[in-house]
């Protein structure tokens, strides 16, 4: 479990990093928190000839909260985002999801943007970005583009980031209206990748009736899956809504794969149970959400 030889680049600025990535092209990989990449190298599952370490790019170590949402720089650690009070106030789902990402020591190193780039469909932040309809800013030497969540994830462990390109930030929009969110999951051990996880967002109107109910799923699909479940609960109040019907509706669209920790049937069952729990809790949160504060 030792990596094969690679050339190590330690750029001091974004411009230098982009130069290095441009020069090495296909043979290069960005090294962020290393919490996923280093094990992959040690097990020799990948053998990039060049590593471009972005840990000196302090210009990217930020969490910026604006009225519209939260922008997370590529060097912001999970822990930075999780603890940021403004970010939590604007987009509570960030902290709700992050507290389920691994353990504190891993969150101290791992980056939120890195976990999006890693594109593991069991990674909580992929579901958060997908549910919120966020986006990722990609930059290469001399060009940049913004990719929406729906296009960003190409497959399991595969994002649309191209050789020479780097993700510099991710944008997590604030949800409009009287909206509450919740993130629940079932993992074998505390902090493990979940057997199934559900991020939910429920929006209520001024009469506290459901106008929108959506959920995003972990570990049940190759890329983050977002389902609109409004039809099962539209017009109901959080107390009268038949969340179980919404969960049943969700399960129709889910075809999980089995693994050694959970059969496909059990995963689907978890998706149902957790959908109901997540929606109910999100709706509960929405009831106590201050509409003024959340309007854009």
């Amino acid at each position: 479990m030792k990596p094969p030889a690679f050339k190590y680049h330690a750029p001091a600025s974004l411009a230098e990093a982009l130069d290095a990535l441009d020069a090495v092209g296909h043979d290069g990989k960005v090294l962020a928190g290393g919490q996923s990449l280093i094990p992959i190298l040690n097990m020799r599952l990948a053998a990039p000839a060049h590593l471009v370490d972005i840990n000196r790019l302090s210009e990217l170590a930020y969490v910026r909260t604006e009225p519209g949402g939260v922008t997370v720089g590529a060097l912001a650690r999970h822990a930075d985002v999780e603890r940021d009070a403004d970010a939590y106030a604007a987009v509570p789902l960030l902290r709700q999801g992050l507290r389920l990402v691994a353990h504190p020591v891993i969150r101290n190193r791992g980056t939120t943007v890195g976990s999006l780039a890693h594109a593991d469909p069991s990674g909580e932040m992929t579901a958060v970005l997908a549910l919120l309809g966020g986006s990722v800013d990609l930059v290469r030497k001399g060009a940049s583009r913004t990719v929406g969540a729906e296009d960003f994830f190409a497959g399991p462990l595969e994002s649309c980031i191209e050789p020479g390109e780097m993700a510099v930030s991710a944008y997590f929009p604030r949800l409009a209206g009287r909206t509450g969110t919740e993130f629940v999951e079932a993992a074998r051990r505390h902090g493990d990748y979940a057997m199934c996880g559900v991020a939910a967002a429920v929006t209520l109107d001024d009469d506290l009736r459901v106008t929108r109910a959506r959920a995003a799923y972990l570990s049940v699909s190759p890329v983050p899956l977002v389902l609109d479940l409004t039809e099962a609960v539209h017009g109901a109040t959080p107390a009268t809504a038949r969340w179980a019907d919404a969960a049943a509706l969700a399960v129709l669209s889910i075809e999980p794969e089995p693994d050694i920790h959970a059969t496909a049937e059990y995963r689907a069952h978890l998706a149902r149970v957790l959908t109901e729990r997540a929606l109910r809790a999100a709706a509960q949160r929405a009831t106590s959400t201050d509409v003024e504060r959340t309007s854009r």
């Binding site: 479990m1 030792k2 990596p3 094969p4 030889a5 094990p39 097990m43 020799r44 353990h103 079932a186 074998r188 051990r189 505390h190 902090g191 493990d192 057997m195 050694i260 920790h261 959970a262 059969t263 049937e265 059990y266 069952h269 978890l270 149970v273 957790l274």
Partner: protein, 810 residues
Amino acid sequence: MTERMIGAPVPRTEDARLVTGRGHYLDDLGAGAYEVAFVRSPHAHARITSIDVEAALDTEGLVAVYLYEDLTGKVAEPLPLLIPHPALTHGRTAYPLAKDVVRHVGEAIVMVVATDRYRAEDACERITVEYEFLPPVVGIDKAAGGEHLVHADVPGNVAAHMVQEVGDAPAAIAAAPNRLELQLDIERSACMPMEGRGVLARWDEADASMRVYTSTQTSTGVRAAVAAKLELPLDRVEVITPDVGGGFGVKIVHPWPEEVLVPWAARLLGHEVKWTEDRREHFVSSAHERGQLQTVRVGFDDEGRVLGLDVEILHDNGAYTPYGIIVPIITSTQLLGPYKPGAYRVDFRSLYTNTVIVTPYRGAGRPQGVFAMERTMDAIADHLGRDRADVRAANFIQPHEMPYDHGLLFQDGRPLIYDSGDFPASLDKLKKLVGWDDFEVFRAQARAEGRRVGIGIGCYVEGTGVGPYEGGHVQVETSGKVNVATGLTSQGQGHQTAFAQVVADELGVPFEDVSVTTGDTRRFGYAVGTFASRAAVMSGNAIALAARKVREKALRIAGEALGADPGDLEIVDGVVRVKDDHSSAIPLGTVAVLSNPLRYAFDDASKAATQFGGNADPSRPPVAEDDEPGLEGRDFYSPPRATFANGMHAAIVETDPETAEIRVLRYCVIHDCGHLLNPLIVEGQVHGGVAQGVAGALYERMEYDENGQLLNASFMDFLMPYASEVPSVEIDHLETPSPLNPLGIKGAGEAGVIPGAAVLASAIEDAEGFPITRMPIQPSELFHLRRRHAAGEIPPLRRVRTAPEEFPTA
């Protein structure tokens, strides 16, 4: 009189060093050594048709590449079968590097030596091995079916078949008023010490000697093996254990192939060579344990008393049997626990499979045996509608029946005779601790909140401190400091602390003045090893006996110096003094000077000693005929047979009615290991054991696919529980001293793990209302069991049928 150290909760003196990174583990040594990596088989069963190393030869830093055919002398022979047994009719061991056929994923085929491990792995990647596939035998059913063979010359894959019988169990069962049959299944886990295996060897050409550092549980065993394999005189081989980051059984196996190959290469290359196992290697090339299928037939009376017990065990021993059949022998004898089984028959077959070898893992066959017996006790109770604790009590061996002879042979080949224990008292304490009699109140409260809970219980007896012997050496320096050595090793047990406590009391010296060396053949050449909960019993007693010898000699010499009768002397705080005249005294360091007629005045003690002049009788030799210079003593402890510790555990679990997740709410332990040398250490051992018990019941399992690929060979998917999964453990002790040894102690090292699977199965079953027969259990499986139960495929427990309102509908 100073305070007694034995029995005091003395904090472990080694911990400050270990937890602040000042330990020295194997990989911390040998900075300039060449390093080794292996090409290991990716297939479970295959014939090697060709090995092409050509492409690796220009790897930067490559030093050497060895195949089987390069091995010389005894190194080219199969590894030893350590513990032969008449029932092991078809024992087979591996070659250090595979010869022709590989029999499990992970078997070493090519040894690569390079200037560092990175380069060694680079070279491994460039070596091509071609195979002709043979049908893999994976799983106990497949092995027992015998359609394909792991070893062509072992019919039916049966390594060993052994039957032990007391009375006529089938007849007793047939005649019993009640009968039950259970099919049980328990799967593989593994020791998983934090530090894997590792070896560093240094050949001294001028001295023609070999020094080996190895992360082992037996340095004397490795020494003998290396000397034999390399054909070196024993006195030219020394083996030292540095700090060892856990063993739990896997490091008692010796020699591991690497423990032979690394010294062999070091001598050949004339350079230090080191191999440090990585985690992936540990998963596929060390050892696992626990896999068994069991059939239990039992006949019992209306009180639940067992009249006849007939157990058939199919034991998975993996691809080879270097450690013999210790594990299934322990299962079949320790299964009996604290109970009188009536007539008993146990029949086991130990079967080859194309998987990693099976050797003892903490508990060593007992968790499986206890699982069989305790599932049976619960089944009897349920069948009769009786309280589970009452049925156990009805079967207990009573205190007045000790010593109790089961009429069977134990793992050490000696009679299975329990020396002590008070099982009714233990059960009483346990019921109080967990609140057994009030549980239905708790259950009802939980149910009112929509929660599902259950309580479980499990009892065990553990043969500990097996012989044949351990020794101890105690030496008082002229400074008064005391050096203690014992041959067995330490891998985290706190021996520095516990053995120093023994010496402090036995010799009468300050605890701080005692330093302990373990597992260093330079200091003590005769030893067995640290396993089978034997270190405290064996070395603890040996060291006590050695310390008594030193004490006796010190009193004799001091008596001469002080002109007093040794019988009137005592040793307190390192000073020998006349009991009723404390002014007449001499420090032990000074006694040490007097004990050696060669007196160079290096230190104050030597100068001080001159005042005692001593006998200068010119007609006598300076060292008397029956004496030796120096204030030191050596002794051995060799017990007639094992001493039996015991314990009873209870757990309360909660199972999520929707997600089927399982949580342990409480875990209670009553533990009897005789006199406690150090309650803190004993409780630490119990905590760690319980963690591994919970692990084996709810989290860990080796997940082999039908091709013999281990699907979860990393900590990502092999679910060793975190602190967040392990319940806090509530412990109460009972102390029934062992009559077999001077300190009255019994082993405590494995206790915590033994009934884990049994207790948690009992509790989950109680929560769910249908039988649990297979461990470990994960939420996904519980979910499917619930489905099958709801579909009528799994019948409810009787107690559910008779009082359905008390139980949940699944």
